[in-house]
């Protein structure tokens, strides 16, 4: 028998149902967003103390704006350390007063591992590769981020650095659920 199962248990039109709900200790999809081109943000409600870790996958199709990730709708208290390849130039840098928690570069693919342990600082390791044209990728950013807070993370907020998401932009979040 193939059962109809879903980690979140939600059935269309009946979000309170436990019908088909499955619980297991593993990565489970909690957000799968594809932009229609008119959204200026998208949020995901979570409990970081319980989940401890998120896999965030972003395909940003916007050629002008990056995508920021902010925790608990907060835009301050972040820092990063980077190792970048920008058009063939490899360099490192640090910023401990940035308002950006993590970013997906313009026309890029981005892979983020966000770690939200209870009572410890929240960190992320991120890699973003940005497409130029033809067969050229012009930038590879590899960065570690910290959010200087031990508070429970209750929301992940994705915000374009300007305007709206480009149509077709995809943001997928997998949470470690137990």
């Amino acid at each position: 028998m193939q059962a109809k199962l879903n980690p979140q248990g939600a059935i269309a039109g009946d979000s309170t149902s436990t019908k088909g709900k499955i619980s297991f200790p593993g990565f489970q999809k909690v957000l799968d967003f594809t932009s229609a081109g008119n959204e200026s943000s998208v949020s995901c409600t979570v409990s970081g103390d319980a989940d401890k870790e998120y896999k965030i996958l972003i395909r940003n199709l916007n050629g002008t704006y990056n995508i920021y990730l902010r925790l608990n709708a907060t835009s301050t208290g972040y820092g990063y350390q980077s190792l970048d390849n920008n058009s063939g130039s490899v360099s490192a840098g640090r910023d401990n007063a940035t308002s950006i928690e993590a970013l997906a570069l313009t026309t890029s693919i981005c892979d983020v591992t966000l770690v939200t342990p209870s009572s410890l600082l929240k960190t992320a390791i991120m890699c973003s590769a940005a497409y130029s044209s033809g067969t050229t990728i012009d930038r590879l950013y590899w960065r570690g981020y910290v959010y200087n807070s031990t508070a429970n993370i209750t929301s992940l907020d994705f915000v374009p650095s300007g305007g709206t998401f480009a149509s077709g932009t995809r943001i997928t979040v997998l949470a470690r659920r137990s």
Partner: protein, 364 residues
């Protein structure tokens, strides 16, 4: 309702859809067959453990078997020895580059994340550690990739070697996809400890009471589990130098290639002697500082056990002292992994330090 282990498609998970198993005979190519639907699936996670079947072997992952070199490009930071340098191509490779073996028998371990939906170029991000043999890990290599075809639905992947029979015995290819299965029969609520082909937690420990010098998961079966994903979030109670020790082996049997960035400095090095564990960082964290590690380990015996790991380290406030990227190897090829331990030089893993272990178990 409490269930035992489950197998089948579970909506909202990421599951193995293809597993070659350890190859029993060398080959020049290895195809998944037409089992994919990139437009519907969106994301793929592809794991390649390549054992080189010939000298100077490069292996490529080709969507739909496309070997047209003018369709591929990449940009990366290739770290080998003391060098961390640009390594990029445009229009010269026969696929997504996923491994290189300079000598027959060399092992590469590469994990590649692909966004497969058509309508735009298909981009990917990969992390590899290549050329593992003897006491040498030749490289660790983060890189981005592009396939310029914007129209074709991806229905298959082919692992392709530039050398005859370059895909050697022991090579393994796994493809995971997010499942969005909407058919079937509705059930009541179900709780299960394990789903075949999904990353499932097999252990979780948090330091309490007093700072610890080690945290161990025992009773494992690496040959069945095949792949482990380890997660560590630490707070330092003193100068730390922790690492992963397998089967309590404290011999000089761990090798690595690492790169780290600290402020504006970049440094890389190869470690061929002196490690009695897979170090998760290259120097000690300061008391009261934080850090995290994420590590993927190919655990099945038969070949050296390859791993790569990454994470921000030695953090205080909004300052990250450094980020580390390491390609590691346990030189033991024979023993089944039955324990994985996080080991420090002293009892300096403070209260709240967390260590979690996940297994993939593609065969259930």
């Amino acid at each position: 309702m409490q269930f035992g282990n489950l197998a089948g498609l579970i909506n909202g998970t990421e599951q193995v859809i293809y597993d070659s198993g350890d190859l029993g005979a060398a080959a020049s190519s290895l195809a998944t067959g037409s089992i994919l639907n990139g437009d519907a699936d969106g994301w793929y996670l592809v794991i390649v453990r390549h054992v080189s079947g010939a000298t100077s072997t490069t292996v490529y992952l080709q969507p739909n078997g496309d070997s047209t070199s003018s369709h591929y490009g990449r940009k990366g930071i290739y770290c080998s020895g003391a060098s961390a340098a640009d390594n990029s191509t445009a229009g010269t490779e026969a696929g997504y580059n996923v491994g290189y073996g300079p000598t027959t028998g060399d092992v590469s371990f590469t994990v590649i994340r692909i966004y497969a939906k058509s309508g735009t170029v298909r981009m990917a991000y990969a992390l590899g550690t290549w050329g593992q043999a003897g006491s040498t890990v030749t490289s660790v290599f983060p890189y981005g990739l592009v396939w310029t075809d914007t129209a074709a639905n991806i229905t298959s992947f082919t692992l392709y070697s530039n050398q005859t029979n370059g895909i050697g015995v022991g090579t393994r290819l796994l493809v995971l996809r997010p499942t969005a299965f909407t058919g079937g029969t509705s059930t009541g609520a179900i709780t299960t400890p394990y789903i075949k082909g999904s990353w499932v937690r097999v252990g979780s420990q948090i330091v309490s009471g007093s700072a610890a010098s080690s945290i161990t998961f025992s009773g494992l079966n690496g040959n069945t589990d095949v792949l482990y994903y380890l997660h560590v979030a630490y707070k330092a109670a003193g100068s730390e130098a922790h690492g992963i020790r397998l089967n309590s082996d404290s011999g000089d049997n761990y090798k690595g290639q690492y790169v780290y960035a600290s402020n504006t400095s970049v440094a890389a090095a190869q470690v061929t002697t002196g490690w009695n564990r897979m170090y998760l960082r290259n120097n000690g964290a300061t008391t009261g500082h934080y850090g995290t590690h994420n590590m993927m380990l190919f655990a099945k015996s038969g070949y050296v056990r390859s791993a790569h790991l990454t994470g921000p380290q030695d953090i205080t406030g909004t300052t990250i002292t450094e980020i580390n990227l390491m390609g590691d190897m346990w030189t033991n090829t024979a023993d089944n992994i039955t324990s994985v331990a996080l080991v420090d030089n002293a009892a300096n893993m403070d209260i709240g330090t967390q260590f979690e272990l996940y297994a993939l178990r593609p065969n259930g």
